[in-house]
C-alpha cells in the first residue's frame, strides 16, 4: 500500500508513527495524572528489564510474527485475510491433537505436530480462497465467519473429542513439545520456547517465496493486477487459493507455537485470543515485508508484555497501553498525513 512512496518514506512512516504514538501516549498519561517517564520506564523494564521478562516478551513476539506474516502474505497478493484468528485456533488445536494422539520419537513427532498446525490453518483458509476464486465471494466476509466457526468448533473438539468433557486437554508429551528447559532456565522460568526460531525461519521463507520464486512473482502480479496476470497467462484463481492457503499455513503455525510451546495444551477459549487481529496491525506497521513484520511484532510484543507490569510499577492502567498501541496504528493508517508532512519538511529544508 506504500507504493506511491519512496523507499526512504516507507521506512520513515512507520518509525514516525511509532514515535508520534508514544508521544501522544505520553500526553495522555500526563493528562490522566501519571508520570509518562515512569510509565515508559516501567514498560521497558517489564518487557526487557530482566531475563524473565525478555523471555516472556520473545514468547509473545513469536505468534505475532506468524500472524503478521499471515496477514501480510495475503495483503501482498491482494487479499485481506481477517481469518488469521480462526486459522490460528484450528492450527493450535490440530497440533495439540496430533501431539496427544501419537507416541513417536521427537524427531518425527514434533515436526508432525507442527505440520498438522500448518495444514489445519491452510485448510481453514482454503475455504474462503476457494469461495473467492470460484464464486467471487468476498474473503473478508467468509474469513470473519470462519473465525466464529473455528472458535466454537475448537472448543467442541477440546471438550468432547480431545479431552473427556474437560476445559483443557492434557499436556502434549515431551516428544511433541516446543518447550525449552534451556531457555526456561536461562530466563528464570519464563515460558520462552523454541518457537521463535521457527518464526524467524518463517520470515525468511516468506521473503524467499514472495520475492525470489516464480510462484511469488505470480502471486504478487495477481495481487497488483488480476487482469494483466490473466493476460500474461497466469491462473488467477489458482493463485488466489494458493495465497490464502499459504497465509493460513502461517497462521496455523502461529497456533501450533501456542499449542506446543507457550501453553503445551489446548483449552476452551471464552473469546478470541486477539493475536490474529493484532496480526493485521503488525502487518500494516511492518509494511508487509518480512523484516518489517519481525520489527513490528517485536514492538507489539514489548508493548503487550510491558503493559502487564505498568500498573504495578507505575500505576498506569493497562488500558492506557492499549490506547498507545491504538494511537500508533492510527498514525500508521493515516500514513498519508505523515508522508505529506515529510514532503513539506523536505521542501522546507531546501
Amino acid at each position: 500500500m506504500f507504493n506511491q512512496f519512496s523507499r526512504w518514506q516507507k521506512i520513515m512512516i512507520p518509525v514516525i508513527s511509532v514515535v508520534l504514538g508514544l508521544l501522544v501516549g505520553a500526553i495522555v498519561m500526563l493528562v490522566s495524572g501519571y508520570n509518562p517517564i515512569e510509565g515508559y520506564a516501567a514498560l521497558l523494564s517489564g518487557s526487557l528489564g530482566e531475563g524473565f521478562y525478555i523471555g516472556e516478551t520473545i514468547r509473545q513476539i513469536t505468534p505475532y510474527i506468524f500472524a503478521g506474516l499471515a496477514v501480510a502474505f495475503a495483503f501482498r497478493t491482494g487479499l485481506f485475510n481477517i481469518g488469521v484468528e480462526g486459522q490460528l485456533l484450528v492450527g493450535w488445536v490440530a497440533s495439540v491433537w496430533v501431539g496427544l494422539a501419537f507416541d513417536l520419537p521427537k524427531i518425527i513427532h514434533l515436526p508432525m505436530a507442527i505440520l498438522a498446525g500448518a495444514l489445519a490453518g491452510a485448510l481453514w483458509a482454503f475455504v474462503p480462497g476457494l469461495l473467492k476464486a470460484k464464486l467471487r465471494v468476498h474473503e473478508v466476509i467468509v474469513t470473519i465467519m470462519m473465525n466464529y466457526i473455528a472458535l466454537h468448533l475448537c472448543n467442541y473438539l477440546v471438550r468432547y473429542v480431545i479431552s473427556d468433557g474437560q476445559n483443557t486437554t492434557d499436556r502434549v508429551p515431551e516428544s511433541a513439545s516446543l518447550k525449552s528447559p534451556f531457555f526456561e532456565t536461562l530466563t528464570e522460568f519464563s515460558t520462552m520456547h523454541y518457537g521463535i526460531f521457527l518464526a524467524l525461519a518463517a520470515a525468511i521463507i516468506y521473503f524467499v517465496v514472495l520475492e525470489k520464486t516464480t510462484t511469488g512473482f505470480e502471486l504478487r502480479s495477481v495481487g497488483f493486477n488480476q487482469h494483466a496476470s490473466e493476460y500474461a497467462g497466469m491462473n488467477v484463481n489458482r493463485n488466489i487459493i494458493l495465497s490464502m492457503v499459504i497465509s493460513g499455513a502461517f497462521a496455523g503455525l502461529g497456533g501450533a507455537m501456542e499449542g506446543l510451546g507457550t501453553f503445551g495444551y489446548g483449552f476452551i477459549h471464552g473469546a478470541f485470543s486477539g493475536v490474529g487481529f493484532d496480526g493485521i496491525a503488525v502487518a500494516l506497521l511492518g509494511g508487509n515485508v518480512a523484516l518489517g513484520v519481525i520489527l513490528a511484532a517485536a514492538l507489539f510484543g514489548i508493548l503487550k508484555q510491558g503493559a502487564l507490569i505498568m500498573p504495578l510499577e507505575s500505576g498506569v492502567p493497562t488500558e492506557l497501553v492499549e490506547i498507545v498501541i491504538a494511537i500508533i496504528i492510527f498514525f500508521v493508517a493515516s500514513s498519508y498525513i505523515i508522508a505529506y508532512l515529510l514532503q513539506r519538511l523536505k521542501k522546507g529544508a531546501k
Binding site: 490522566s32 471438550r159 476445559n167 528464570e188 501453553f263 476452551i268 471464552g270 493497562t318
Partner: protein, 359 residues
Amino acid sequence: MKKRKYGVALSMVLAAGTVLAACGSDEADTGTDEGSTGGEGAEETSEFKVAMVTDTGGVDDKSFNQSAWEGLQQFGADNGLEEGTDGYTYFQSNNDADYVTNMNTAVRNDFNLVFGIGFLLNQAITDVASQNPDTNFALVDDVSEGDNVASITFKEHEGSFLVGVAAAMATESDQIGFVGGVESDLINKFAAGFQAGVEAVNPDAEVQIEFAGDFNDAAGGQQIAASMYGSGIDVIYHAAGGTGNGVFTEAKNLKQQDPDRQVWVIGVDRDQWEEGQVGDDNVTLTSMVKRVDVAVQDISTRAMEGDFPGGEVIEYGIQEEGIAIAESQDNLSQEMLDEIANYQQQIVDGEIEVPSTLE
C-alpha cells in the same frame, strides 16, 4: 503512592462507574463479617503480601474478579496493608497467555500468597506453583493439585436453588430461562441447582437452558435474552459474566418500552441490583451472590496467620456464608422471602441435598 491510589480509583470510576454504590454496601457488610479476625494482623503487615491475577474478564467485570478484588481491598484495609508492590495488588490478564506471566511476576515480586481468579487459571497456577514451592497459591472456582495450592470452590448449586425458588414463584408464564457462559462442569452446577429449586416450588414450570459460548459477549447474551423473552419466558437467570450484561440490557429495553410487562433477570456472583435499574423500575428480581470476597478474605487471613490450607479443597456454601441471596430484596415479596428462608434452612440442615450436576 497517593498518585497510584488516585489512578486506580480513576480507572475504576471510568470503567465500572455504576458499581460504586454496590461496592460501598459490600464493603460495609464485609467489615462486620470480618470484624472478629480483622484487627489481629497489624504487626505482620509488613511481612505479608498478597496479590491476585484476574482472568481475561478483568478487575472491573462486575463479577467475581471484581468481587475478589473488593475482598482483597477489604483485607488490605482491615490489616493496614498498602496497595501496591508492598501490600496487596492485582494483575490484570488481557490474554490467556498472560496468566503464567502474571503469576510469575507476582512471585518475583515476593508476594506470599497469589490468588488465581477463575478456573481458566488452573493450568497456569499448577505450573507456577510447582516451580515455586515457597509461595502459596489459591485458585478460585476450580481444583488444582499441589501442596502449596488451596482450591476454593463454591456450592453455587445451593444459591442457585434459592434463586430458583424465587424464579418459580415470580413467573406467570411458567417458562423460565437460564443463560450460561461457556458450558462446563462449573456452569452446570448453577443450572442444576436452579432447575431443582424451580421444580421444588413449581413442578409445572419449565426451565430452558442456553449457553452463549462466551463469557464476554454482551451482544450474544442480549440476542439469547431477546429470543427467550420473545418466546414467553419472563424470568432469566444468567451465569454468564459479561455476557449476562446483555441479558440485563434486553430486559431493560423491554421494560422501558412497556413498563407493565413482567421481565425479570436474576443476577449472579454479585448483587446485580444496579445493573437492573431502569428509570424507577428495576428488572433484577434477585441475585445469587457468590462471596468470592468472603473467601478471598478468609484464605488471606488464614495464610497470614500461618494457617494456610495448602493442598486442600475448601467449599464455601450457604453455611459458610460464601453463598447467599442478594441484599437488595425490594422485588421479592414477603411470601417469597419466607419460602426462600425456609428452603435455606432445609439446605443448611441437610434435609435437602441440592444436585450439582445436570442429570
